[in-house]
């Protein structure tokens, strides 16, 4: 199981800034290990962000997102205390869901 995400959601005026740090190797499938064997691709394919029970971001990603991905989003209509739920699924079917509250 992958390590938990770090999620920070903060109100700046009427806009909520959501920053997410995911812990993932994001292997492209093009790298070779020390023995010269191909390291199989292992990367996050879908990301969703729900705030206050509503789907805000529905994202798909490929191999060219950096290792330990960081994403930043902004939204209107959120308020302090709203629950932020972030979910990702990778190409091996591994998944992780983490929550935070808008501060």
């Amino acid at each position: 199981m992958a390590d938990p995400m770090k999620i920070r959601a903060q109100m700046k005026g009427d806009v909520a800034e959501i920053r997410i740090l995911m812990s993932h190797a994001m292997e492209t499938g093009q790298r070779k290990d020390a023995a010269g064997a191909n390291v199989p691709a292992h990367f996050i394919q879908t990301i969703t962000v729900d705030v206050g029970g509503k789907r805000v971001i529905d994202g798909q990603t490929g191999t060219s997102i950096s290792r330990n991905p960081v994403f930043g989003f902004k939204m209107k209509g959120a308020k302090a205390g709203d629950k932020v739920v972030v979910n990702w699924v990778d190409n091996k079917g591994e998944k992780r869901t983490d929550e935070a509250a808008v501060a």
Binding site: I57, Q60, I65, F71, V89
Partner: protein, 156 residues
């Protein structure tokens, strides 16, 4: 000690937990799962095919799409990208890197108050144009900027 009673109790607890898990699993797919991964677009080797894959074959150039990337990236493994769309009605932003082995890096759809902007960190194999393709209504718009990737961290 009444071993049968123990076994029955244990069995009961296990099946309750299992039922709980199944219920949770059965409820989840609609809430959690995102739309299916667009394999054709993400495995496309070049920008044109990738654009076709996301349904944006001929996006129009637009100054209202702002791509913020460094001019020179010393480390191609971590290149910060910021995309902001000032086009009203923007529903999605895709990020593409022309010269990467697979061009499409990410495609994000916005809803329920999300502002049409995103920041991410991408990998770049070599100096290339970074494109942001924005969908607003039925139309697609594009803006691009070149990032020079310094291989080996010095010179270039």
């Amino acid at each position: 000690m009444n071993t049968t009673r123990r076994t029955v109790l244990k069995g009961a607890t296990a099946s309750t937990v299992l039922a709980g898990l199944i219920a949770a699993g059965a409820l989840r797919p609609t809430q959690v799962f995102a739309s299916d991964w667009n394999k054709a677009a993400f495995e496309a080797k070049d920008t044109a095919t990738a654009l076709k894959g996301i349904g944006a074959s001929a996006p129009a150039e637009s100054k209202d799409v702002v791509v913020k990337v460094p001019d020179i990236a010393e480390n191609g493994a971590v290149v910060p990208v910021d995309v902001v769309s000032n086009i009203p009605g923007t529903t999605s932003i895709a990020i593409l890197i022309d010269k990467n082995p697979t061009a499409l890096s990410g495609n994000f759809t916005f809803a329920n108050g999300a502002l049409p902007e995103i920041s991410a960190r991408i990998k770049m194999g070599q100096t290339s144009l970074v494109r942001a393709v924005v969908k607003a209504g039925d139309k697609y718009y594009v803006a691009q900027k070149e990032v020079k990737v310094t291989v080996g961290g010095c010179g270039g």
